[in-house]
Symmetry: C2
Subunit: 120 residues, 2 copies
């Protein structure tokens, strides 16, 4: 019993990101299509995409909710969009003092980029 | 007048694809976000994403509508999805004999892949 080793704990959405070959190489099956379409759908709203791009381009790929730019929508709407990005596994969130910080999940971004890569 | 040269005609949606730096480098402005979100939205449906991946992975990135796999929806629904992909500039269509052929727009795919690329 003393030889048992603990398995690593996968604690972020990024760990569960599917790692699919480029679309140009192999058609997606229904299961992968469900998961990946949810990610694309999360990026399929202009306001959400702008918020995501602001977080992604911020230092370290992380931004305080207090630094988000005015994108012409109310604070509750911004919160709704950030929740959708989290649910899709595109960002993670953590509290620091009294502010929430949102960080891009690089593995998710890499997976989507690779999926859309050219066949070359 | 005899020295006038004709300007090249841009006749595909791909010619109009925005060519933005990766999201991790620079936040998107509202205009680019509108156009790119429309592309992501088109990929944000599991059935549409499967159809798109089938076309992308077919020989030459082009597939006859007669070869599309059964994705569990009716023919009118398939047509609707193909129309959405066309409107987003992700595929183009041409008639060959009595069949429609759909072809992936490589420039659109490259633009989206580059947008999601890592900052490195």
């Amino acid at each position: 019993m003393s030889n048992l080793r603990e398995l690593p704990v996968l604690d972020t959405a990024a760990d569960a990101v599917p790692c699919c070959p480029p679309l140009s190489r192999k058609p997606l099956d229904a299961v992968d299509a469900d998961r990946l379409a949810a990610m694309f759908k999360a990026l399929g709203d202009p306001v959400r995409l702008r918020l995501f791009s602001f977080i992604a381009s911020h230092e370290g790929g992380e931004a305080c909710v207090c630094d988000l730019p005015d994108v012409g929508v109310s604070q509750p709407t911004v919160s709704h969009h950030l929740k959708k990005l989290r649910e899709a596994g595109l960002v993670s969130a953590r509290r620091k003092a009294s502010w929430m910080f949102y960080k891009v999940e690089p593995a998710a971004l890499t997976a989507l980029s690779g999926l859309l890569a050219d066949r070359s």
